[in-house]
Amino acid sequence: MEDLIEIRWHGRGGQGAKTASLLLADAAFNTGKYIQGFPEYGPERMGAPITAYNRISSSPITIHSNIYEPDYVVVVDDTLLESVDVTSGLKETGAIVINTTKSADYLKSVLKGYKGNIYTIDARKISEATLGRYFPNTPMLAAIVKVSGIMSDEDLLEDMKGSFKHKFAKKPEVIEGNMKALEMALQEIKKI
């Protein structure tokens, strides 16, 4: 498990952080990787902070615990930044990806001097532009793929096309919007 990548997702119930972690697992699986995708179950309710995890490796993964020293952290909702210690254990060689429009100064101050890379993306704008509603998980999925380099942009788009077809078999009208959300997110993510 030399090339093991560990990712922790922070979101709020109902925003799809768990779904995004499962989609990421799916996409990495389709490139031939060994994967884990699992949420930390608690008293789930809309709006409550939730955590989900991914492990991705080119060899079998046997460890079965939560992730305490992730390579990457994804924050789906920036209102968590002041209440959850999102950089806890986060490797400095890694990165954090935040769905936010807040200033770099603000982010640096709430991330308690985290020395790794900080990326931001306005998933609300992308989601509302492409889907007409606020579903941050699709843009965040593209963002973490881009930042972690788990697969190429092309592989992601190709693979997600198949996944969305399957996932939205009963509402095909949202497939195009989700694909656009991915493409836009791949373009718009920026490092601060």
Partner: protein
């Protein structure tokens, strides 16, 4: 060559059931096993299986319906967790004493109270003396594989006992991981059709099932149950060998991981064994001879074989994910040490109660156990054999 897939443990169990296509499934939903009957009921609704699905009003009825179906001559399955199994309690004993090879998927969860939905093994440990074969599974793959082997073992004429396949609630039941599935046709051939020798719906042989059994016979019947449990060991090995021919995946009564030359070893079950493998690999890189013995077959308990496998290590930690609250150690600890004593294996052994109510067991926790074992090897001393792992400091005061 098998089908490469990614599934949660619950999906894996449900797909195994789909491929087995039993005559009857009777179940009542309970977290974290709910998804198993939920997915299965969609297979029924879609006509992918021709199973009679009985949506009962409680787990007591679920097990009762399985008993009725098996006694009638049908192949029956169910799934449950924690308090669901507690509610089945009365019927659990009846299933085994009537020698009905029902297969149950147990997704391990803490038995209340107070209410907790997360994983420990207190549900399974509550029925460890109920006459069921109990197989434990490290991950989704093993939960799937054990389920495919279950009927061949349970229905064998030398066995005829119900069987439960255990996996860790949430930790594996709700984690998506890679898995290799067996093709439908191959499963069908491997599992075979159920041909009971005696059954209620056989008009040529009218029988009674479960009548009064007093002083003159119950003892003998219990001894026969015990004998069947002993026989199960060989049958499990034989079926596992056939399964290996089919899939290349090797299963025994337990798995030895880097145990050959190990000086210190952990004994545990289910998903923690996977975390332990990860830690063993890391310690080996540092030159520490750590090993793992993962118990797959908990009932019948392979005491003699385990004792032999552990005879050359210098210190052992046995990890129990359920506290027997008896001031004498957890169930696995008692069974392993009893097996060692009877078979003249005298290796220092300590017990750790861990992971209660879903307390996460980190690789650091497992590493600390190995460090404790090194200390025992060094000093030859065990201050207290009954320990906790992951309990907050002062948490037992």
């Amino acid at each position: 060559m098998g089908i490469r897939e990614r599934l949660s443990g619950n999906e894996a169990a449900a797909i195994a059931m789909k491929q087995i296509n039993p005559d009857v499934v009777a179940a009542f939903p309970i977290t974290p096993s709910t998804e198993i009957p939920q997915y299965f009921s969609t297979f029924v609704a879609n006509g992918t299986v021709d199973t009679e699905f009985v949506a009962v009003e409680s787990e007591h009825s679920a097990m009762s319906a399985c008993i009725g179906a098996e006694a009638a001559g049908a192949r029956a399955m169910t799934a449950t967790s924690a308090n669901g199994l507690s509610l089945m309690w009365e019927m659990i004993y009846i299933a085994s004493s009537l020698r009905l090879p029902i297969v149950l998927s147990l997704v391990n969860r803490a038995v209340s109270g107070p209410l907790n939905i997360h994983c420990d093994h207190s549900d399974a440990m509550g029925v460890r003396d109920a006459g069921w074969i109990m197989l434990f599974s490290e991950n989704n793959q093993e939960a799937y594989d054990n389920t495919l082997m279950a009927h061949r073992i349970a229905e064998h004429k030398d066995v005829l006992l119900p069987l439960m396949v255990c996996q860790d609630g949430f930790i594996t039941s709700h984690s998506i991981e890679n898995i290799e599935l067996v093709e439908d046709e191959k499963v069908k051939d491997f599992v075979g059709t159920y041909k009971p020798e005696h059954y209620l719906l056989n008009e040529k042989e009218p029988i009674a099932v479960g009548p009064l059994d007093l002083q003159s016979y119950l003892f003998e019947h219990k001894a026969q149950q015990a004998e069947a449990m002993k026989n199960a060991k060989q049958v499990i090995l034989d079926v596992s060998k056939d399964f290996e021919k089919l899939t290349g995946r090797k299963y025994g009564l337990f798995e030895e991981y880097k145990l050959d030359d190990a000086e210190i070893a952990i004994v545990c079950m289910n998903s923690t064994a996977g975390t332990t493998k990860y830690v063993v690999d890391n310690l080996r890189k540092q030159g520490i001879k750590a090993g793992l013995l993962k118990v797959r077959v908990f009932r019948p308990f392979p005491g003699e074989e385990i004792a032999k496998a552990l005879s050359n290590v210098k210190a052992i930690a046995i990890l129990d994910k359920a506290d027997s609250l008896n001031s004498a150690g957890g169930a696995l600890f008692e069974d392993v040490t009893s097996g060692m004593y009877v078979n003249n294996v005298h290796v220092p052994a300590v017990n750790y109660i861990y992971g209660i109510g879903g307390r996460d067991t980190k690789s650091d926790d497992i590493e600390s156990v190995f460090k404790d074992l090194l200390e025992i090897v060094k000093t030859g001393k065990i201050d207290n054999p009954y320990r906790y792992l992951g309990l907050r400091k002062g948490g037992n005061k």
